[in-house]
Every structure is written in C-alpha cells, then in structure tokens.
C-alpha cells in the first residue's frame, strides 16, 4: 500500500499500534509493518514527526529510557489518546460500512 493511500490515517494507525503498550520508535515501525502483514509501505522516517504531532496534541506521551542497552525514546497512549483512538475506530467502522454498502454490494445497493 502506497504512502498516498495512508495519508490521513497515519495518526490513527500509530494510536492503534500503541494501544495497551509502550514502544520505542523502531518497535512502532516494526509493529505497524507486522500488523499490516508487510503491506504498509510508507517512509519510516515520517513516523517520528507524526509521533511528535500526537505528543503535542496530548494523545501520546514519551520518555527517554534504556531499552536493549541503549537510550531510547519510548511512547505510550494517554487517556486523551485512548479517547481519540476510540473515536477513530468508530469513524472508520462507519466509513467502511458506508463505502462497502456502495462498492461491495451491501445493504444499500439492494434498497
């Protein structure tokens, strides 16, 4: 999947990746790639500015800590981030349901 298709969804993907766990930057990138079965193809460098943006919005907090013998910045969801993730998930379900209704021959096509 190309970066253009991901534009606008990266923040939600990052929030979902951090749901219930604390990860450093590269671990987030690995988790994103594993979660998508290796299909996500975005420049990994774009993840860091996105994490800063989420941190500025108060959805993510970060700390420097020692992981694997190296100092790393680790990220976790805040309660605001948890709420933003729930809202993103609801919006996504609604969106896919509507699009599927039109493109996928769902309930709306039969009306």
């Amino acid at each position: 999947m190309k970066p253009d298709a991901l534009r606008g969804h990266l923040d939600a993907l990052l929030l979902a990746t951090l749901d219930g766990r604390q990860l450093h930057g590269y671990a987030i990138i690995e988790a994103l790639q594993q979660g998508s079965g290796g299909v996500l193809d975005l420049p990994t460098g774009t993840v860091y500015p996105a994490l800063r943006r989420l941190e500025r919005a108060g959805h993510v907090s970060s700390d420097w800590s020692t992981v694997g013998g190296r100092q790393r910045r680790t990220y976790r969801l805040t309660s605001s981030g948890q709420r933003a993730l729930s809202a993103e998930r609801s919006a996504w379900r609604e969106f896919t349901s509507v699009i599927d209704g039109v493109l996928g021959g769902g309930k709306w096509k039969q009306v």
Partner: protein, 226 residues
C-alpha cells in the same frame, strides 16, 4: 558495523534543519537510533552490512521528504517557544516598569511642564501593548493546542505561530520607539530621570531585541518548510 552511510544521512538531515537545538537533537538522535535498529534487523535477516545500510536508508525515506516533515515540527516547536517567552517576559517587563514608577519615578515633577494629553494617551497605549501582546501569545498557545488535535498541518501551525510572534514583538517595539521619541520631543530630561530608569530602559531594549531575534528565527524556521 559501518556507520558511514548512516552518519552521512544524519549529517545531511542535520544540515537541512533549522530550529531549537534540543528539539532538533532529539529528532536526529531518534533518526540515528532508528537507522541503527533497521540495519541490525536487516543484518539478522541475512543481508550484508552495506546492503543492510542501504535498505535502512531507503526505507527511512528520501532525505528531502523527511527534512520537510521534520522542519514542520521544528517550526511548531520554535513558534511555541517564542510565544511562551513572549507570554512570560512581557508581563515581567511591565512589572519592572511599574516597580520603577513606584519607587523611582513617583508623581509628576511640579517643576516640569505637564505633558500634553496625546503624550499621556500614547503612554497608556504603550503600557497596554505589552500586556495585550502577552495575552495574544497566551491565547495563541491555547488555540494551537486545540488546532493540533484536529487536522491542521504542522507547517501551517508553525507559520501562524511565527507570524503572530513577529507581529506581537513588532507592536511592542513600535510602542517603545514611539514613547521614547515622544518623550524626547516633550521633555528630553525625562529620558534620563535616574540611573534605575535608565537601567530599566536598557533592559527593556535588550529584551525587545532578544524577542525580535527569537521571532525572526522562528519565522525563518517556518518559511523554509516547503
């Protein structure tokens, strides 16, 4: 592990970025860590050292693209820092002048001619400009916090913050220059009332120049984002 390719990439990125040193160093440290992690992962998967480095750099993204995304964040960081400085320093400068008036200037000297009404009006406006500029900076920080929860692009946020910072500093500087010129015109002796007043004037001038430099740097951070 060779660090040459990674070092060159990070140095290239470093050379393209402008912004607060600490924020920039944080981003560059994370970049280097991420590239080293990626190289290690590719080495484990069986690639040679040079192939692993090349793959890590390719996956991270073209340096120009990454620099634009990083610069937008640095512009927001610089804008926020400048607005916080304005919101804190201008009220302190106002307090310094109030204390000066209280302890060293006192009531109007009866041996001097009373200043014209326009001068008193200008002095009042100048007093208020600093407080209003600090209030605008504080409000901008709150609005910025709200905007960044939406879909407002970081580059736009950086430009808004720097523009506002520059306007605030320009307004305060104009007020200070206007009141000094007006004082010179009305009664030049008032400019040199006492050493504490002269010192306060010098401190105000240094603070305003410093804020001007901060706002200019902040605008430069925001406008190099393409």
């Amino acid at each position: 592990m060779e660090a040459g390719v990674i070092d060159r990439y990070v140095a290239d990125l470093d050379g393209r970025l402008r912004g607060p040193r600490a924020a920039k160093d944080d981003l560059l440290t994370e970049t280097r860590d991420s590239l080293v992690d990626a190289v290690e992962a590719h080495l484990e998967s069986g690639l040679s050292s040079s192939a692993a480095e090349r793959r890590a750099i390719e996956e991270f993204g073209p340096v120009g693209t990454i620099a634009r995304a990083y610069q937008a964040e640095l512009a927001v960081s610089a804008g926020t820092r400048t607005l916080v400085t304005i919101a804190v320093v201008l009220p302190l400068m106002h307090v310094m002048w109030e204390l000066n008036r209280w302890f060293f200037i006192g009531a109007w000297d009866p041996h001097m001619d009373a200043p014209p009404a326009w001068y008193l009006w200008l002095a009042k406006v100048n007093d208020m400009t600093g407080i209003v500029a600090a209030g605008v900076a504080f409000a901008a920080l709150l609005v910025g916090r709200y905007l960044c929860r939406g879909r407002t692009h970081s580059a736009t946020m950086g430009k808004l913050a720097s523009g506002l910072a520059l306007c605030s500093v320009a307004a305060v500087m104009t007020g200070q220059v206007a009141i000094m010129a007006a004082t010179w015109h009305v009664d030049v002796r008032m400019l040199l009332l006492s050493p504490p007043v002269t010192i306060a004037s010098a401190i105000s001038l240094v603070i305003l120049i410093w804020l001007g430099v901060l706002a200019r740097r902040c605008l430069s951070c925001a406008t190099i984002v393409r």
